[in-house]
C-alpha cells in the first residue's frame, strides 16, 4: 500500500537587508495531491522554494515530514526534488548523464516525445531552452523523492508540452506530493487540489476564484 507522506513548511521568514520578503509563510503538501502556489512577481514564491531546498538561508524556517521529530535540512534534496525557474542542468553535461545521476530512464523521455531520441549524448547547451526545460521537468517529475517542487514549469514551453506535462503531473501525484507555481494560473488551477496565494510575505489559502480577485491577483 502506498504510504501517505505529508510535508509541512511553516514560519518562513526571509529578509534581504531591510526588505522583508517572507514574514510568516507556510505551505503544506501531501502525497496524492497537487498544491499550487500563486502570487504576483516579487512576492517570494521562488524564495520560499529556495529556502526549503537550502539554497537560500532564511532567518527562520520550520520543516517537518509526517510526524518525524527531526528533519535533516542539509540533505533535503534526497526527499524533495526541485525544478527551479532557470535551466539547471549544467551546460556541459549531456542529457544522458543528467538522467543517470537522477536515476531516471532516458527511454521514458523518448517515449514522452520521440524528438529526444537523438539528444541523449548532446550537452544541455546544444539544445534549445524549451527542449532543456521539457527534459528537466520530465527528469524532476520522474526521479525519486517523496515531494517535488516545480517553479514556473509551463513558462517558455509550447502549449502541446503544457498539456502533456499537466497529464504527467496528474499521473505522478499518485506516488508523490507536488507543489507547483506558475503565472499561467489557469493551467495551475486545472491540476491543483489545494491552492495558496503569497501576498505581503504571508500565505493565504484560496478556495475560489473570488478569493483571487479579493486578494488582487486577478481582475475578474
Amino acid at each position: 500500500m502506498q504510504s501517505l507522506d505529508t510535508l509541512l513548511v511553516d514560519s518562513v521568514q526571509l529578509a534581504f537587508g531591510r526588505l522583508q520578503v517572507l514574514k510568516s509563510a507556510f505551505i503544506t503538501a501531501r502525497t496524492g495531491r497537487v498544491t499550487g502556489v500563486l502570487g504576483r512577481n516579487g512576492t517570494g514564491k521562488s524564495c520560499l522554494f529556495k529556502c526549503i531546498m537550502g539554497g537560500i538561508k532564511p532567518q527562520n524556517l520550520f520543516i517537518r515530514f509526517n510526524e518525524e521529530m527531526d528533519t535533516d535540512y542539509g540533505h533535503i534534496g534526497e526527499r524533495i526534488k526541485y525544478l527551479p525557474q532557470h535551466e539547471f542542468i549544467p551546460p556541459k553535461m549531456t542529457l544522458g548523464e543528467a538522467f543517470d545521476l537522477y536515476g531516471v530512464d532516458y527511454d521514458g523521455l523518448v517515449t514522452f516525445d520521440p524528438k529526444f531520441h537523438t539528444c541523449q549524448r548532446r550537452m544541455a547547451r546544444e539544445l534549445s531552452g524549451g527542449e532543456v526545460r521539457v527534459a528537466e521537468m520530465y527528469m524532476v517529475l520522474n526521479s525519486g523523492g517523496e515531494f517535488c517542487i516545480l517553479d514556473e514549469p509551463f513558462s517558455n514551453i509550447a502549449p502541446k508540452y503544457v498539456e502533456k506535462m499537466q497529464a504527467m503531473i496528474l499521473e505522478q501525484k499518485a506516488s508523490k506530493g507536488i507543489i507547483i507555481s506558475d503565472h499561467l494560473y489557469e493551467q495551475v488551477i486545472s491540476v491543483t487540489d489545494d491552492l495558496f496565494l503569497l501576498r505581503g510575505g504571508y500565505t493565504f489559502p484560496i478556495k475560489s476564484r473570488d478569493d483571487l480577485i479579493r486578494h488582487g491577483y486577478i481582475l475578474r
Binding site: M53, G54, H86
Partner: protein, 106 residues
C-alpha cells in the same frame, strides 16, 4: 549519498575550482622542488589563493547549477566546501612529495 560518491561528484560541480587550484598547486610544488625552504611561503600563498578562487567561482554563475546537485542530496555547504577540502588534501600530499624530492636533490 556517501561521502565518497559526493567527492566523486565534486569532479563535476567543482571542476572550475580544481582547474584553477591545480595551477596554483603546480606552481607551489615547483617552487618547493627547487627550494624546499620556501615551504612556509608556499603554504601561505596557497591559503591566500582560496578566497580569491572562491570569489572567481561565485561570480561565474555556479549558483545556477547548484540546485541540480542539491536535488541529489548534497547540502549547500558540501557543494561549496568539498572541492576546496579535496584540493587542500591533494595540495598537502603534492607539496610533501615535492619537498622530499627537493631535499633529495639538494
Amino acid at each position: 549519498m556517501t561521502l565518497l560518491s559526493k567527492i566523486r561528484l565534486s569532479g563535476k560541480f567543482g571542476k572550475p575550482v580544481y582547474v584553477v587550484s591545480a595551477l596554483v598547486t603546480l606552481v607551489m610544488a615547483g617552487f618547493t622542488v627547487f627550494d624546499p625552504l620556501l615551504l612556509p611561503e608556499c603554504l601561505l600563498l596557497k591559503l591566500a589563493s582560496i578566497p580569491f578562487i572562491f570569489y572567481l567561482i561565485s561570480v561565474s554563475g555556479q549558483r545556477q547549477k547548484m540546485y541540480f546537485y542539491l536535488n541529489l542530496g548534497i547540502s549547500r555547504n558540501e557543494f561549496r566546501i568539498i572541492p576546496y577540502a579535496v584540493d587542500l588534501v591533494v595540495f598537502i600530499v603534492l607539496i610533501i612529495i615535492s619537498v622530499m624530492i627537493g631535499n633529495a636533490i639538494s
